[in-house]
């Protein structure tokens, strides 16, 4: 299957405002695709559409061939799409360990009743969960902080934790929403390496929304450019960099007003 995620003619209207207009977007398995555009272009809206927070006014969204268009967000996550948020949304009163552990609710076999009886099956599953979460934290160097309240971590660590948490849902597609925001150049380099590592080790596709061009060019094989909700260009980083429509979108408007 060459189309893991497919958006066809997706339009999103809020009252009178068209945030996204007739968008066609494809992400293949294990592909690294970037979604860029000036502020207000509709990038986060596209993420919200894919993850089911909004339902498109028109168009269809399919994942692994199945229609996702009107599914509830938790069902979409269960299908294999995970995300991080532009403004970090960790669970503020939970520890680092518990934050990642929440992702395990997806496939929990010993839930409500078993939590009360605490039989062998429950205890075995809790032990398995602990192992999984800790090894995941270990991979990303956060195991030492596992009992710390998540919001006590440094900003960079919090962003990493959000990615770990998303990975714990065992996705096939990871949506990263401006992961480099607020990072210094060193951190951004580390982030580029991290994303490559994640993609390689977990064999997942990544759709990245990002303003920092260095990160985008360093990570993505293919880039889609949005402006005012419509796709204006698509192609390899080198082509996009030289594309006049893209340059116009980012700089042109100011140049005309100058």
């Amino acid at each position: 299957m060459s189309r893991l995620l497919e958006l066809r003619g997706v339009t999103m209207e809020f009252g009178g405002l068209r945030a996204v207009s007739g968008l066609d977007l494809v992400v293949g398995p294990e592909e690294m695709v970037g979604l860029i555009g000036p502020n207000g272009a509709g990038k986060t809206t596209v993420f919200n559409l894919i993850t089911g927070l909004y339902h498109p006014t028109e168009g269809a969204i399919a994942f692994n061939g199945r229609t996702m268009t009107r599914l509830a967000p938790h069902r979409i996550t269960a299908s294999g799409i995970a995300r991080t948020f532009q403004n970090i949304r960790l669970f503020g009163s939970l520890t680092v360990y518990d934050n990642v552990r929440t992702a395990m609710n997806l496939n929990l076999r010993h839930g409500f009743g078993h939590a009360l009886t605490r039989g062998r099956g429950f205890r075995a599953e809790e032990a398995r969960i602990r192992e999984e979460v800790m090894s995941l934290l270990e991979i990303f160097g956060l195991a030492g902080e596992s009992e710390r309240i998540a919001t006590g971590l440094s900003y960079g660590d919090q962003r990493r934790l959000e990615i770990v948490r998303a990975l714990a849902t065992k996705p096939q597609l990871l949506l990263l929403d401006e992961p480099a925001a607020g990072m210094n150049p060193t951190e951004k380099s580390a982030l580029i390496d991290l994303i490559h590592f994640v993609q390689d080790k977990f064999r997942i596709a990544v759709l990245l929304v990002e303003h920092d061009m260095k990160v985008v060019m360093g990570v993505c094989r293919r880039i889609v450019v949005l402006d005012y909700g419509s796709k204006i260009a698509e192609g390899e980083p080198a082509q996009i960099r030289k594309n006049p429509a893209v340059i116009e979108a980012y700089l042109g408007r100011e140049a005309h007003h100058a």
Partner: protein
């Protein structure tokens, strides 16, 4: 079909609705500007009624020789001013410290304020209902279809209408009204544009509380007895009216208030025919609330709000 009865019920319902509308306006304005449900608002209504009672008692000697209407107006204005002041003080003391916190936190605090007001009133005035004086003449006027309307009801309707017009003028045509609308639309931008948020918020609370105070006096005029807990149920019902009309919308609050008043009165008036005991009168508002929030949460005239992700 007994049209006379229907007409009478409708007249009664509209008068009750006017009272709900006045209270609902305060809820909707505060919600529009601050985005929270001020649970204590209903108790300001109660304070208005008590203020009316005591102003009348204390100032009666001064009013000898005055026409009833004039003294009634003075008492109304004094009570409205008192309530406005009370509203402003409550906001400064209990709600201002919570401006950066969530709406639910302030709601909980406002429940505390509401209890403080009603139990405080009980402490001061005692729990027993008090009679409210006759402020205007005691006539009944006949209407077509065999219905009748009292002078009190006409007064309530007319003054409510006047207040609504005044309010609309204030919100649409004055600078303060513009500031209110700006603040409710976008607090950050409003502050950057030079709007003194604190002043606008105080003004909104003052205005809403004044209207609630007026509603208290009208209620007392129509139903003739007041007690420290009279505000709780009408307060919640007026909130329902605001939601029904579309929370944040001033015409919505007025519409919702009147609709609720009429519906409630009709349900009680026709309770025999529809098989619902009249004891269910209070449940009407709650049922309307639940239905509205389930099927049209933005209300009849409201606009929807989206959370930014």
């Amino acid at each position: 079909m007994d049209w006379g009865n229907f007409a009478q019920q409708t007249v009664n319902g509209v008068s009750l609705g006017a009272i709900y509308a006045l209270i609902a306006l305060g809820y909707t304005m505060v919600y529009g500007v601050l985005r929270f449900i001020n649970f204590a608002h209903g108790d300001v209504f109660m304070v208005g009624a008590f203020a009316g009672l005591y102003f009348h008692r204390w100032l009666k000697p001064l009013f000898t020789g005055w026409p009833a209407a004039a003294s009634a107006i003075v008492i109304l204005l004094l009570s409205m001013a008192f309530c406005a002041l009370l509203g402003i003080v409550i906001e400064k003391v209990a709600y201002k410290p919570l401006r950066q916190r969530s709406r639910l936190t302030v709601l909980i605090t406002s429940i505390g304020v509401s209890l403080l007001l009603s139990y405080g009133a009980q402490l001061i005035f005692g729990a027993a209902p008090k009679g409210f004086p006759q402020l205007v003449a005691n006539h009944t006027i006949s209407l077509p279809l065999g219905a009748s309307v009292t002078v009190e009801q006409i007064t309530v309707l007319l003054v409510t209408l006047l207040l609504l017009i005044a309010l609309t003028f204030a919100v649409m045509r004055t600078r303060m009204g513009l500031a209110m609308r700006a603040l409710s639309n976008n607090p950050t931008a409003a502050a950057l544009m030079g709007v003194n948020n604190d002043a606008v918020i105080s003004f909104t609370f003052g205005l809403g509380s004044a209207l609630a105070g007026a509603a208290g006096i009208f209620f007392a005029m129509l139903y003739q007895a007041i007690d420290p807990f009279m505000g709780i149920l009408p307060g919640i019902k007026a909130f329902v009216a605001a939601v029904l009309g579309g929370i944040g919308s001033i015409p919505g609050a007025a519409l919702g208030g009147v609709l609720l008043g009429v519906l409630e009165t009709l349900v009680v008036g026709y309770s025999q025919n529809i098989g619902i005991p009249s004891g269910y009168r209070d449940a009407v508002a709650f049922v309307i609330l639940i239905l509205t929030l389930m099927f049209k949460p933005t209300g009849l005239l409201g606009k929807s709000e989206r959370e930014k992700v």
